[in-house]
């Protein structure tokens, strides 16, 4: 009664031979459908030269031309590859997000002498006057008016920002759009350091 298990049949070699084309486009419909570990239906398993259990050789038929047939598998389409724990992936993703946010959206604002920093969304403001007003309100200080020649002369405070290149610049010198796309963080300088700026 016990049917002798025939591995050759079970394996159904031809049907399971990986191909680079999408499933269903070959003449012998593979019994095994898409590789279950792959999220979408693209066969992203790279070509494996031979599948044969009967032959014990390891001959390789390197079909170099096959390389050009399909684009290299996009990394994120293979589940669980590369083998990195989700914790680590999530941490790195959120780092990236922070980086992107620094480029002109949420930026940290520090004021010399204040015990902690604040965060503001630059996109909310239409231009420099609104931004400066908001900063004045947030930190209860007077920054005053900007002048191209003298900066914030007359004020105890000077708003500065760190740009993409890591340089500290005076707020107001460049057009607003350029400013919000390159501003990574704000620092409101105080005292003699501040008064020195703009008079260079």
């Amino acid at each position: 009664m016990e049917r002798r298990v025939n591995y050759e049949n079970d394996l159904n070699l031809m049907a399971t031979e990986p191909r680079l084309g999408l499933p269903g486009c070959g003449d012998d419909e593979p019994q095994r459908k898409t590789n279950p570990s792959i999220r979408n239906n693209k066969r992203t398993v790279p070509e494996i030269s031979e599948v044969s259990s009967s032959e014990s050789n390891s001959s390789i038929t390197m079909s170099g031309s096959d390389d050009q047939d399909s684009p290299p598998p996009a990394k994120e389409q293979v589940v669980g590859w590369p083998p990195i724990r989700s914790n680590r992936k999530n941490c790195l993703q959120s780092s990236k997000r922070n980086e992107v946010e620094g480029m002109g959206m949420y930026v940290k604002v520090s004021v010399d002498g204040a015990p902690y920093l604040r965060k503001i969304d630059l996109k909310v403001y239409g231009g420099y006057p609104q931004l400066l007003k908001a900063l004045e309100n947030m930190f209860k200080l007077i920054i005053g008016a900007y002048s191209k020649r003298e900066g914030y002369n007359g004020s105890d405070y000077a708003p500065t920002y760190e740009d993409k290149d890591g340089d500290w610049m005076l707020v107001g010198d460049v057009p607003w759009e350029m400013f919000i796309s390159s501003c990574k963080r704000l620092r409101i300088m105080k005292g003699s350091e501040a008064r020195g700026l703009g008079c260079v």
Binding site: P36, P46, V51, P73, I84, N87, S95, N98
Partner: protein, 586 residues
């Protein structure tokens, strides 16, 4: 002492001598055995004879269970009456990469219930890849009055509420180590649950959590726990706050900083550097989230003594790393992101001659356009400068056979060689050949090799090499590799010490699976997913080997005859009863 030696003496004609040797009091034997710590040594001891088996089981205080389903808590409690410390591992390792279905199992609760009854004086619990609920954590917190150390690595199922229960009730807690878990982070108030009278904490690691904690509570906690030697903060702790903590804890040996990127005034930088320089015992540094190069000099005073530096959350450039490493001559273990590139690794080779372990993690998994990361050149550079290197985990975008041959020639003492060429099935990028010779070189040269992860385009030849040469290999991870059943057959036939084999997306089928029939009982487990194994093959294996649990996880919509994911492991507890519907036990 070899078990066979004692057996021989029993059979020898000099009976007096052998009787004398066997008749020393149990107490002496137990005392001697109590000095044995390694669980493998203890296993060997227990096999010598019945007396030694009993003496060993009465003196064992720590039990290590590598697969929670290989045994039941009742069996453990029956054999070892005096356990104070338990290490338990649950899910197959590929669960870390989302290959294991949700609710697969490995729930700790049944174990805790038995422990509460049989080991009321339990002190330590170390779990890896187990499912643990808040209810279980609460139960743990109130059931064991002597409880001292909880370590959770890559576990899931709990939230910060569970941690609050631990903090509230475990009056003698010395260690709370929460690493890389799937936690439901509901906020940082759990840390405030440590009572003001609580002073025993030595190890606190909450780097895994993202929410803000009450800094004042933390500052007071660290201030009053004078024996604290390990403190690993989460990202929400700022540099300024770090400085305040360090001022009160100069005795720290291991520090995980919080965020390392906010702006500091000059005075704050000086204060931070000063606080760090007072930490004369510090040998391990981690955290450094989003580290900005300009603040790294604050670390220099600590760097001279550092033996382990974990920069795997700091996306440093090569020049930033080079500057930092110039101050770290004693480094033995280094973890970095591939943002440091080959140039950064050259600096490793030049500055860290004592290096034993290197891990290079990929920073950017999703950005296809930007090509960066490390190549074979970086690895080769490290191998020239660090001859003591024996552990490597290397994620790279390209590799060559020649490079690996050079690497193992420079560093023949590898015990752990985990190479991940990130594009599956990628050949040698110069010769376009498979990477067979690379791994051939590894197994031929590194006779002490215990753990190997292979990648790139590999034919059966790689596995022929492994089977022929890797005689000390215990753990093998294979993905997108091999040409036929023959490959796996070589491994099953040749690697006599193999304990863990995990395979995904390889053309190994039933013949390969069944070639290991005799072997699986001497292994901890086998995992095969997305291979060519069928249900019939698995059923045959289950039938032939009743002491193995053969579990199949089916994917939605897959063929009925295909065994999509197979997990085979030895067990004296029989088939498990808590398997979810998606897991079939054959």
């Amino acid at each position: 002492m070899e078990p066979s030696e004692l057996k021989r003496s029993k059979d020898s004609p000099n009976l007096d001598e052998s009787t004398r040797r066997l008749s020393f009091p149990d107490e002496v034997l137990e005392r001697v055995l109590s000095l044995l710590k390694s669980h493998r040594d203890r296993s060997s001891v227990s096999l010598v004879c019945k007396d030694w088996y009993n003496a060993e089981r009465w003196s064992r205080t720590h039990v290590f269970i590598g697969n929670c389903y290989s045994v039941s808590p009742e069996i453990v409690a029956r054999r070892f009456p005096k356990i104070r410390s338990v290490t338990l591992k649950g899910k197959p390792r590929f669960s870390d990469f989302n290959l294991v279905p949700e609710n697969w199992g490995a729930d700790i609760h049944a174990w805790l219930v038995v422990f509460a009854a049989k080991y009321p004086f339990l002190e330590e619990l170390r779990l890896k890849r187990m499912a643990i609920s808040d209810e279980s954590l609460e139960f743990l917190a109130v059931s064991f009055p002597n409880f001292k150390a909880l370590s959770l690595l890559s576990c899931d199922g709990f939230s910060t509420n569970g941690l609050a229960a631990i903090a509230t009730h475990c009056k003698n807690l010395t260690e709370l180590d929460i690493q890389e878990n799937g936690i439901d982070d509901k906020g940082g108030s759990w840390l405030s649950c440590f009572p003001e009278s609580f002073t025993s904490l030595e190890v606190l690691n909450f780097a895994n959590l993202s929410s803000d904690i009450n800094f004042d509570a933390l500052e007071r906690l660290v201030g009053r726990c004078k024996s604290m030697r390990v403190l690993k903060l989460n990202r929400s702790v700022s540099l300024e706050q770090l400085q305040r903590l360090l001022v009160n804890a100069p005795q720290l040996a291991e520090l995980g900083t919080g965020s390392f990127s906010e702006e500091l005034t000059f005075r704050q930088c000086v204060e931070l550097e000063s606080a760090l320089s007072n930490c004369k015992n510090m040998h391990t540094l981690s955290g450094l989230w989003d580290a900005k190069g300009i603040y790294l000099p604050a670390l220099y005073p600590v760097c001279t003594h550092l033996t382990f530096l974990n920069l795997s959350y700091a996306a440093l450039r090569s020049d930033e790393l080079a500057k930092l490493l110039a101050h770290c001559p004693r480094l033995k273990r280094l973890w970095v992101l591939d943002t440091v590139e080959d140039k950064g690794l050259e600096a490793v080779g030049m500055n860290c001659p004592l290096l034993e372990e290197l891990r290079v993690f990929p920073a950017d998994l999703f950005d296809e356009e930007i090509i960066h990361g490390v190549t074979e050149a970086g690895f080769v550079a490290v191998s020239f400068g660090c001859p003591r290197l024996h552990y490597v985990l290397y994620f790279c975008c390209q590799m060559t056979n020649a490079a690996v041959a050079t690497i193992v020639q420079n560093c023949p003492d590898f015990t752990h060689f985990r190479l991940c060429i990130m594009n599956p099935g990628q050949p040698d990028h110069i010769t376009n050949e498979p990477m067979d010779e690379a791994f051939g070189a590894v197994v031929k040269t590194c006779t002490k090799l215990q753990r190997l992860s292979v990648s790139g385009r590999l034919t059966d030849l790689t596995f022929e090499y492994i089977g022929r040469y890797a005689k000390n290999l215990e753990t093998l991870s294979v993905a997108f590799a091999g040409s036929s059943d023959w490959g796996m057959q070589c491994v099953m036939g040749g690697c006599s010490k193999l304990r863990k084999l995990e395979i995904r997306d390889c053309p190994f089928g039933n013949a390969a699976l069944l070639s290991g029939l005799e072997k699986y009982e001497s292994m901890r487990s086998l995992w095969m997913s997305a291979c060519n194994v069928t249900m019939n093959g698995c059923r045959l294996l289950a039938r032939e080997m009743p002491r193995l649990n053969v579990e199949v996880m089916k994917e939605d919509g897959s063929d009925d005859s295909q065994a999509d994911k197979v997990y085979v492991y030895r067990s004296i507890a029989g088939p498990r009863r808590d398997a979810p519907p998606s897991v079939l036990t054959l």
